[in-house]
Subunit: 582 residues, 2 copies
């Protein structure tokens, strides 16, 4: 049975635009000879729609759109994610649903059973779980029992996770109910190294229940989340038989051999399938013909690079901006963000502004200028000394006998923020903010200063990874894209004479180690100290992280690339007094 994996990049809430993509993919899949085309979870609304789901008119519009899609399913079955109403009198008002559409109508409706409600996921806020009677999740197409599951339904496998959060295992139930092939409609966001885990988990599920799996994932950036795509199909032994690319839209067809089906039956159709179409977005793969190309799936720093490009460009484009502006300090963080912006959007859509103060070294402006030259972006120098002097003489009378302190340092950062926002307002550029995860963690940043901006591109990238990625970019492009002096200089905020980051912070490899344990792994003070970190340093870093929550609450959304990013997936109180290190 030939399936098409329709890996689309929807815009949240853009029901009309998403339907247009779905209809185009249906036509293409039909032309490719697919019997069934599988779309991502909530393909009609885009994922995650968040509280748009609370608007009855939004649900109505999405239901009308599903009917519109169903009308076009002639000669092909389409499995499409949408939000349905819970028709029962009790329970949350919606279901996270997929419809099997065929013959110009909605043939059946299926509901997600396992609702992720952790990290960035809030599904129990909106949805009632699907029926306990999992038989309802099986649909028969051409006499083949197709088991329908949605994203998390496929993840509850005690062999791969530390704790089963759910009492049901829909995949086991579908297997027991005789499903001959499993379809999974997903919206599974990127996290470093997560795709490797998916392959193991899904392949393991396929082999365990001796059933092929067809997994269609969303691709594209939606606010903090980057969906990497990488849709994939497995045979009943758990081998990958088709794979869509990472970080771009794709439509991949695959002939799935059903358990019990003899190899010859499938191989008959082999010849007509070997032709790979010229259209670069379309790829036809057969389980028996084309080997899966691993080069489609970036890994390691390569995947990080592509995730950040996609998250950045989709945020800018989906918000309707033509261009971006950012401050270039000559340091590594802004150099990396500038590079990512130029690569994601093209250099003609990026403006860099250097804003030297009385404490900036000449080297800083030169490094910023070199970067702008390397990237081919517009570049301006706006010295802030005069405005800074004017502020200081204005405010001095109010300071009594209080000397210089962090006030004056922050003021410089805030002047820069105001200048960048003026560029943003005057030219309708989106301002990118350039803080990394290490700074954001410990609050080594100025609220309303360098934290100004609409998108925090690398706020989930620790400083040590900023260096690694910068070196990787220079190696990939085989030239000095990011000035080596930006990479190699001692990090400094340059807000007072001879300042370096390490005046205030432990070395970054130590800091990043503690942050990873405390933020990503939820380790406590004692555990981190037991792992070999200096106790006083651990206490200091934890305290800084906890006390900086008020800054992060007002931070721009940042692209999530680790297992736990600051922002929507980490919900901490501000006025709290837990002191684990005392």
């Amino acid at each position: 049975m030939r399936f098409a994996l329709a890996q689309l990049n929807p815009t949240v809430g853009d029901i009309g635009g998403n339907v247009a993509k779905i209809l185009a993919a249906i036509d293409r899949a039909r032309a490719e000879g697919a019997r069934v085309v599988v779309f991502p979870e909530l393909a009609i609304t885009g994922y995650p729609p968040k509280d748009l789901l609370l608007k009855p008119s939004f649900i109505d519009d999405n239901l009308a759109a599903l009917e519109e899609v169903a009308k076009k399913t002639v000669g092909i079955a389409a499995i499409v994610g949408y939000a349905d109403r819970n028709s029962g009198p009790v329970g949350r008002p919606l279901h996270n649903a997929v419809a099997v559409c065929e013959g110009g109508r909605v043939a059946s409706r299926h509901f997600k059973t396992l609702l992720p409600t952790y990290d960035v996921f809030d599904e129990s806020r909106y949805f009632e779980p699907g029926p306990i009677e999992l038989r309802n999740q099986i649909v028969v197409i051409d006499g083949v029992k197709v088991g329908i599951s949605i994203c998390e339904d496929l993840w509850n496998d005690e062999r791969f996770i530390s704790r089963r959060l759910y009492h049901q295992n829909p995949i086991a139930d579908l297997g027991a109910a005789g499903a001959q092939v499993l379809v999974n409609c997903s919206a599974s966001p990127f996290v470093l190294d997560k795709h490797d885990f998916r392959l193991k988990l899904f392949g393991g599920q396929a082999a365990r229940f001796n059933v092929p799996i067809v997994y269609a994932n969303q691709v594209g950036g939606n606010d903090e989340l980057v969906f990497d795509g990488c849709s994939v199909a497995f045979d009943a032994r758990g081998n990958v038989i088709a794979q869509a690319k990472g970080f771009g839209e794709d439509l991949v067809c695959v002939d799935v051999q059903l358990p019990g089906e003899r190899d010859e039956e499938t191989s008959k159709a082999r010849d007509e399938e070997t032709k790979r179409r010229g259209d670069e977005d379309v790829q036809t793969t057969s389980s028996l013909v084309s080997p899966v190309s691993p080069s489609l799936i970036p890994i390691g720093l390569d995947s990080l690079y592509h995730a950040l490009l996609l998250g950045l460009s989709d945020y800018v484009n989906k918000c309707g901006f033509k261009s971006v502006v950012l401050g270039l300090s000559g340091g590594i963080d802004s150099a990396l963000v500038g590079t990512l912006a130029a690569h994601a959007l093209g250099p003609d859509r990026v403006v860099g502004v250097a804003m030297p103060s009385r404490f900036s070294s000449d080297h800083s402006v030169n490094d910023a200028r070199d970067l702008a030259k390397n990237l081919g972006i517009e570049f301006h120098v706006v010295p802030i000394k005069d405005v800074h002097d004017q502020y200081e003489s204005l405010l001095l009378p109010f300071w009594g006998d209080r000397g210089r302190d962090v006030t004056e340092e922050n003021l410089q950062a805030r002047i820069r923020g105001a200048i960048l926002m003026a560029f943003s307002n005057k030219y309708n550029h989106l301002l990118l903010t350039t803080g990394n995860k290490s700074e954001v963690a410990v609050g080594y940043c100025t609220l309303y200063g360098d934290m100004c901006g609409g998108l925090a591109v690398i706020s989930d990238v620790p400083k040590t990874m900023v260096w690694d990625l910068s070196r990787w970019i220079n190696a990939k492009f085989e030239r000095e894209v990011i000035p080596v002096s930006s990479i190699e200089k001692v990090p400094s905020a340059e807000l007072r004479p001879n300042q370096t980051d390490q005046d205030s912070l432990p070395p970054y490899d130590v800091l990043d180690g503690i942050i990873e344990r405390y933020v990503e792994d939820e380790e406590g003070y004692e555990q981190i100290v037991a792992a070999g970190f200096d106790a006083a340093t651990v206490a200091r870093v934890i305290k800084l992280i906890d006390r900086s929550e008020y800054k992060r609450r007002q931070a721009a959304p940042g692209l999530k690339v680790t297992s736990r990013a600051f922002g929507f997936g980490r919900r901490m109180p501000i006025a709290q007094n837990y002191r684990s290190w005392e």
Copy 2:
């Protein structure tokens, strides 16, 4: 049976401090002759602990604290909220729990069955629901069957809510299982007019199941949420028999007559109970002795005033600030916030700063000065013209042939923000931001400008209610606290000559009507138009609300007082394209 309602104000995460409050209340309740003292939900951790719950060390510390509390329960039973581990191998790792502690040990543990996961509540993120076997939720004290429930468990009554979200009704089950009295440990935040609803709902449940209810609620501000207290007890006919005060800590004792018990039995104890203790925080009420004083519970604007005072003072104090600063424009919003701050903290902890620009009327500074004088707060005038000129001459060369626009308006607001943050940094004042809900809704505010601040005091108060509350304050104090000219002037941001809010916005009564329908009631475009609002105005306002999401994402936490505030309880995507009005 004599119950004590221990209405405490915990600080989230401050386990040591919360335990100290619990132990003091146990001693006091014992001295009052209470047989059982009831504490709020999650009293040991404070509510809501949010992602602190994900830290295993935090759970350990809270469990150790429970043991410490239990040791002190000699001669009294204490029903105490805490977070327990789910001992089962499957399911979310925690329970929202209360322990019945008696005889120096934890006698039994009970788990919340209904887990609110909507608006500001995220309980399914952390907790596994309690057992289906509700008999486990009954504990026998002195031969009396006491049914234990936690907050939401008491709310699933189809007679009072539009849709039952949950399939269980723990109260019906406890009633059927023979509970003779129901205890409810709560952390139920303030919303305007909500307490009236609680009284109806709880009284209705008591009467329906013919069982007295003892309800202990948390009090105090924790970030966005203000808990109003108003703990209350009902007899088996649903009559209020005791009531703790609103917006302050309290300990109220009440003799609850059990169904079947003769009136005389209870009345025997009457005489010793009539004495009301001198300590103003302690009040002993008997169902048969003291009538309930409705004056303890503020209603309407009175309750709004007290909620804002409590939310403001707790945020400032729990964050460890000694003082606050705010900009005083001469307008009504900053006048109201300045007044609330002076009333909440005392005038010696409040600093007002007027920052006139070239567009400010003399009247504005005078009104600000009058207010400061009325309140008795420190007051400064910092004119921004010179800094503004300096910025403009610095930036002009970069603007090419582009004329003046919103850039220059925003710059003024950002200069003011930077000045206020300089005061905040130099003196360690918390900066209060003064925007109202109407402005925040439509984005009539400047990010990193007037939106600067650690707490948005009135960001959930619509402009029309700002006027009402200001007039109410002047009436309450029988003098012009807030200058009448601030109340009566035509609203203006004063960012360009002769500007008024109504140049950009519909009249505030219309605007607030649309906002309430769209934000609080989730009505769509068509519904709002059908209610009689002008279609073009509705489309314009909805568009402004949707497009301002990026500003609100970076807004300070704001005190929630309506059924739907912006912030944690309203989670909207930014890069979205739902256009319901097209």
